[in-house]
C-alpha cells in the first residue's frame, strides 16, 4: 500500500503480504518525509530550534515545543524559573492541542473505516481551535509560541471568556469552545460513531495487543493505555505543573483492541477539557509575568538531559546534549509514532486488508513525527 494512498495518513509505505484477503506479513517502510530535523537543529540556536520542533508532529505542535523548551530549561537548572502564569498558559494551549489532535485522530480513523461525515465534523471543530489559537499566537498551526523561560506573549483580551459562554462563542472564547465541546461535540461523536454497531463490528477484536507486548514494543500514549496499562506521563512523571490539576486517566482492557484505543482517545478529550477548565479558572484570576529572566543568548551549561512528556500520540522525549555553546550539540527526538509503528508487523498478520487500515488508524501516526 504505497506512499500515495488515501488512508496512510501521509506518505507511508506498507508492504503487505496477502493470502487472498488475509494479511500474512506487514512491513512499514518509512523515510519519505525525512527532513533532517536533528541535523538542522545542531546548526541553530536554541530558540531557532523551536519552530522545527513544531513541524515534527504538526497536528498537535504545542506539545512538541513544550518538550524541547522544558528540556532546555532543565539544562539551565536553577538559573531559569518559569513564571506561574506562563506555566498555566502552556498547559492550556497544550491541552487544547491535545483535544484537536485527538479529534483529528478520531476523524481520520472514522473516515478510514468508511464513515466520511465525522471527518468533516472534526474539521468543523478544529477550525474553531485554529481560530482561537490564531488570536493567541498569530498562526493557525505551527505556533512557535513557547519560549525558553515562558511564552511569547500573553493571552489577548477577552479570549478566556466567561464560564457561561455558549456555542455561538465557540470560536471566540476558550470557555465558549469548551462548553460547546462538552455539550455538543462529544455527545455527537458518541452517538454517531462510537455507538454505531457497524463501527463496533469493524473495530472490536481487531488488533488485540496485550499489555506486556505493549510495554515490550515501546508503545506509549493511547496505544499503551488502550491495552490496560494505566500509565500517563502527566501523572507518573509530571512535567511543569500537571500535578496541580485534577483529571482521570481512561484505560482500556487487558487485551486492548482498536475499539479500546478509540474509546481511550475519546475519553481523553473530555479529561483534557477538564484540565482546560481548571486552567481557565486560574488564568482569569491571576495576571502576571509570562516570561522569566533569561540571558539574551541562551548558552546552557554543559550537560545532557532526557526529557519525556505525554504528547498527544504517546511519549515525546528529547535528549538534548549541550556543550556550552549557543547551539545544541545534539538533539535526539524520540517520537511516539515512530516507536508505535513497530506494532504494525505484530498486529496485522491474521487480519483482513480492511483491518490493516483500522489498525493503522488506531495507532494514529503522523508522518512528520515518524520521519522527522
Amino acid at each position: 500500500m504505497g506512499p500515495q494512498h488515501p488512508s496512510t495518513h501521509g506518505v507511508l509505505r506498507l508492504m503487505v503480504k496477502l493470502d487472498g484477503e488475509t494479511v500474512t506479513a506487514c512491513d512499514p517502510d518509512v523515510g519519505y518525509l525525512h527532513r533532517c530535523f536533528e541535523k538542522l537543529a545542531e546548526g541553530k540556536t536554541y530558540p531557532q530550534v523551536i519552530p522545527f520542533t513544531d513541524r515534527t508532529d504538526y497536528i498537535g505542535p504545542m506539545l512538541n515545543e513544550l518538550c524541547f523548551v522544558e528540556a532546555t530549561e532543565k539544562l539551565f537548572g536553577e538559573a531559569i524559573t518559569v513564571p506561574e502564569r506562563a506555566q498555566y498558559i502552556r498547559v492550556l494551549v497544550s491541552e487544547i492541542n491535545r483535544i484537536g489532535s485527538h479529534l483529528l485522530a478520531l476523524g481520520s480513523m472514522a473516515m478510514d473505516i468508511g464513515a466520511v461525515t465525522p471527518f468533516l465534523y472534526c474539521w468543523r471543530d478544529k477550525e474553531k481551535i485554529y481560530s482561537l489559537l490564531e488570536r493567541v499566537t498569530g498562526t493557525r498551526m505551527l505556533y512557535n509560541y513557547l519560549r525558553v523561560g515562558g511564552v511569547r506573549n500573553d493571552l489577548p483580551e477577552g479570549i478566556i471568556g466567561d464560564p457561561s459562554d455558549g456555542e455561538d462563542k465557540a470560536d471566540k472564547t476558550f470557555w465558549g469552545f469548551i462548553n460547546y465541546f462538552e455539550s455538543y461535540v462529544y455527545p455527537q461523536w458518541v452517538a454517531l460513531v462510537t455507538d454505531n454497531r457497524i463501527f463496533q463490528w469493524r473495530t472490536q477484536g481487531v488488533g488485540c495487543l496485550s499489555s506486556a507486548d505493549a510495554i515490550a514494543y515501546g508503545a506509549s500514549g493511547p496505544v499503551l493505555r488502550g491495552s490496560g496499562v494505566k500509565w500517563d506521563l502527566r501523572k507518573n512523571l509530571p512535567n511543569s505543573i500537571y500535578d496541580r490539576f485534577e483529571f482521570d486517566i481512561p484505560v482500556g482492557k487487558e487485551n486492548g483492541d482498536c475499539f479500546d484505543r478509540w474509546l481511550v482517545r475519546q475519553e481523553e478529550m473530555m479529561q483534557s477539557a477538564r484540565i482546560v477548565k481548571q486552567a481557565l479558572k486560574w488564568l482569569a484570576e491571576n495576571p502576571g509575568e509570562i516570561q522569566g529572566k533569561v540571558p539574551r543568548i541562551l548558552k546552557p551549561p554543559k550537560g545532557e538531559v532526557y526529557h519525556r512528556i505525554e504528547g498527544a500520540r504517546g511519549e515525546i522525549a528529547c535528549y538534548v546534549v549541550s556543550d556550552g555553546s549557543p547551539n545544541p550539540y545534539k538533539v535526539k527526538w524520540r517520537s511516539p509514532c515512530f516507536t508505535n509503528l513497530q506494532l504494525m508487523p505484530k498486529l496485522c498478520p491474521g487480519h483482513k486488508i480492511a483491518d490493516v487500515v483500522a489498525i493503522l488508524g488506531s495507532i494514529d501516526i503522523v508522518l512528520g513525527e515518524v520521519d522527522r
Binding site: V30, G31, H34, C36, E38, K39, K74, L75, G77, I215, A216, Y217, G218, A219, L224, V229, K230, W231, K235, N236, L237, P238, G303, E304, V305, Y306, H307, R308, E315, A317, Y319, V321, Y329, K330, K332, R334, F338, T339, L341, Q342, K346, D371, R372
Partner: protein, 156 residues
C-alpha cells in the same frame, strides 16, 4: 541505580540534571548492563541513540520503568563508547522489541552496527543510499547541487 554500581564496579555512574542516571560501561558489558536493568524492572526502552563526540561515538540506551503506581521514576541511560568508524555493539532487540526501529535509525544516522538485529537496514534514508551516515559531525553532503532557477534579465 545502586544495583548497577554493585554489579559493574568500574562503570561510571552519574546523575543528570533532571535526576536521571547515566551509566558508562564498556562495549562488552553493554548487553549485561542492559540485562541487569531489565531484570530490575526497567522493561520499557524509550530510545536507543548515539552521540558523536569528535573522537568517539557513545551509544545511549534509555530505559524506563512502567509501573502505574510509581510516580517520578527516573530513567536509566546505559552508555557505551565506540570508535567512530566500524563500531559494533550487541543489539538489545531480543529483550526490548521496541528498540528495533531505534537501532536501525542509529545505524542509518551514525554507522553503528548492531549485532543480532533481525532487520539491519537503513530506515529513514533509502536502503541503497550511498552517502555515508548523516548525523556524524564530519558528514559532507556529496549529492550534486541542483541548479537554482535564475530570473531571466533582458537587456534594457
Amino acid at each position: 541505580m545502586d544495583f548497577l554500581q554493585e554489579k559493574f564496579p568500574d562503570a561510571q555512574v552519574a546523575t543528570q540534571v533532571n535526576g536521571d542516571t547515566e551509566v558508562l560501561v564498556t562495549k562488552d558489558q553493554y548487553l549485561n548492563a542492559v540485562k541487569a536493568c531489565y531484570d530490575a524492572g526497567y522493561t520499557f526502552c524509550s530510545v536507543v541513540s548515539a552521540i558523536d563526540w569528535k573522537d568517539r561515538i557513545t551509544v545511549v540506551a534509555s530505559l524506563a520503568r512502567i509501573n502505574p503506581a510509581e510516580v517520578n521514576a527516573r530513567t536509566i541511560h546505559v552508555k557505551a563508547d565506540l570508535p567512530r568508524t566500524g563500531g559494533r555493539i550487541p543489539s538489545i532487540v531480543a529483550l526490548y522489541p521496541g528498540a528495533n526501529f531505534h537501532e536501525r535509525e542509529t545505524y542509518d544516522m551514525y554507522g553503528v552496527r548492531f549485532e543480532g538485529h533481525p532487520n539491519h537496514r537503513r530506515i529513514l534514508l533509502p536502503d541503497n543510499w550511498q552517502g555515508g551516515h548523516p548525523l556524524l559531525k564530519d558528514f559532507v553532503d556529496k549529492r550534486p547541487k541542483r541548479p537554482r532557477l535564475v530570473r531571466y534579465r533582458y537587456a534594457e
